[in-house]
Subunit: 397 residues, 2 copies
């Protein structure tokens, strides 16, 4: 396969010695001109320094680049941390020949420990020298922490007859990693986008994808998702949900959906990926609340691990979602096996065995219909395993 | 120790063969006259039939008795389940010589399976014959499911110079047990109580105790807490928070606090019981939301299991509580070891080791001060262990 290239961008990923393992830990993305930019950041009020800085800088909707380090989250590091994040942006911008204010920063890794700034600065200088049009895969490697491997998804499509590319990469194994950790994701495209529309688009599509997956429900201090559009393709600028806008939205959804599912699949200790579909809700908010509750119930997540079609736990989770429901209307299916109809077990002799068989699959769906309206929502989750407990109880010892 | 007696009450606990193990599974509590009664029930909208029935019947504030079965929750059993719950009350009332409308019902155990009513009826008849003033311990045994043992707490105190007794018992190992399960709790007293006051009292004290403990955050379809006051003591009737009212409140708090802590201690797979104290909040609601979030974070709960003083996870949980906070004001202590001051690590060389030592204790406190106000709240939680996962993933296989 030929290297991934997104016209208008250069990338680098290098080892700076922030990680004890010597693995790549500084990544750089630079656009040859100001790119339209949008970001979605953690809702956690304890925000890492790079998040505070990037949230502020991305407001104007134009960026030249992003500098990333892995192995240290620069979180809970006080005023010094904020100064370090600013320094990272300054050094990167200088090395890439850009204005400092046009650079964002992202960090992931251990919390509460100051960045080793000498190494970080040297790493950024090295990365700037190695910037290349075919550097996307190296960038994607340098943002990882406990991930089993890089997470990349590329879509090529046509807008008004002109080819465009969207390339996305992400990191995250659960919402966690050394000492807590993070989801970071970056999407670069050569399409030309109106910033205002790109902002709304990214927020909406993030809600449907990254904000609808969960390993353990803990949101980190560093979660960041960036979209940068260089406009280097020949396609006209997309400004709204017209025909071209719909095509771009669909391509972005594919990238984000694929990356976010990879996060769950790589979830710490996960052995099953389950899509929770909730239909028949009065409002989309109701549907989402029910899906969220099922996806986060430890009892449901352990039953998924044990491949136990324990529909009582799902029913109880539905009843706990804070949404007005009629228990005697609820239907539950495991893939194509109907198990509950009107709130009671609706199976025959072999229903449990068939539902159990579904649950031995690595990926499957649990479908809940509330029969209270027409709205639907979905959430992707994974199982809660002994391995998850081991990873998170033992990793610092 | 002499048997527990509460003047005005008789109790029984017998084996009816609902449980395959042959352990006691039908319990009966009868007051010799109408007792003042209050109840607190599950907020889950999927309510078991006995909860629907009891919630309705306790409204008038007077009861003669409660019939309980363990081994089957009579939940998600549709119209048939409701009929069965009514039948249980009818049979019990008839056998005890009371009015059917003065009887409540509680059930716990497997969900989605109809009650074996022949056995239940025979069991109730047997229990009625065995009603005795010294039957409290047998009652407390017959309500258990996966519990390691009975949970009983008795307080004797004086109101206006007259001795009164409060005897409480509970069941629950986590919020869970065969196929999902439940917390049931019963407090009987010979004090005389004004029903209206008793109702408010029970709700408030349940919020501070049973509603402030958690094993896994899942609320069952059957959770029920009953308070019955026979008025058989010579103490005058308590109607408000006057001097006698405060003494009674304090005694009830002791009973409920002790029983609810026993639930956590007996939590499935639990190896540590941790009290989360949150102080310095603007409102009590804020304090509770922060304590709740810390107590339910899988990352915090696995760190407790691993005795890892991972303060970053606690800080992140605080930031996720949906409460406006200033991260740079937060203090965190493990028992007497200060670890975080103003949002950053405040320790010295041996701080981590000392905090780790605290976390090897079976019970300890984590104290968080938000420095945003004067309100406080507390929550009791346990760790998330490999054993918890094993119990809940494997128990049906």
């Amino acid at each position: 396969m030929s290297a991934i290239r997104i016209p208008g961008f250069r990338f680098a990923g290098v080892s700076a010695g922030i990680k004890k393992t010597g693995k790549p830990d500084v990544a750089l993305l630079v656009s040859s001109a100001l790119a339209a930019a949008a970001g979605v950041f953690t809702k956690n009020q304890v925000k890492a320094a790079p998040v505070c800085l990037s949230q502020e800088r991305i407001r104007k909707g134009r960026l030249r680049g992003i500098v990333v380090n892995s192995g240290n989250a620069n979180a809970a590091t006080g005023a010094r941390g904020l100064g370090d994040a600013q320094d990272m942006a300054r050094v990167a911008a200088l090395a890439a020949g850009c204005d400092e204010a046009d650079f964002c920063v992202a960090s992931t890794g251990v919390i509460g420990v100051p960045l080793p700034m000498d190494r970080v600065r040297d790493g950024i200088a090295l990365a700037a020298r190695e910037l290349a049009e075919d550097g996307f895969e190296r960038f994607a490697l340098a943002i990882l922490t406990t991930d089993r491997g890089p997470k990349i998804h590329v879509v090529k499509t046509r807008l008004c007859g002109r080819e465009i590319t969207l390339a996305g990469c992400a990191k995250g194994a659960g919402m966690i990693a050394p000492n807590m950790a993070t989801t970071l994701a970056f999407v670069a495209t050569d399409a030309a986008l109106c910033t205002k529309w790109a902002r709304a688009l990214l927020r909406e599509e993030a809600n449907a994808t990254f904000n609808a997956v969960s390993v353990d429900g803990d949101t980190s201090t560093n979660d960041s998702l960036f979209l940068l559009a260089s406009g280097a393709s020949a396609a006209p600028r997309v400004t709204c949900d017209d025909r071209a806008g719909k095509i771009f939205r669909s391509a972005l959804r594919e990238v984000l959906s694929s990356l976010s599912t990879m996060l769950v699949r790589d979830g710490e200790g996960a052995t099953h990926v389950v899509r929770i579909h909730v239909a028949g809700a009065k409002t989309e908010r109701d549907a989402r609340a029910v899906a969220y509750r099922i996806a986060h119930s430890p009892l449901v997540k352990t039953a998924i691990f044990g491949a136990d079609p324990n529909w009582g736990r799902i029913l109880a989770a539905v009843g706990n979602a804070g949404v007005r429901i009629d228990p005697l209307r609820i239907d539950i299916d495991f893939d194509d096996v109907p198990v509950v109809r009107r709130g009671v077990f609706a199976g025959h002799g072999d229903t449990e065995a068939r539902a159990h068989e579904v649950m031995t699959r690595p990926e499957y769906s649990i479908r809940v219909n509330l029969h209270a309206g027409r709205k639907a929502s979905a959430f992707t989750t994974c199982d809660l395993t002994r391995e998850y407990v081991s990873i998170n109880a033992d990793y610092r010892s």
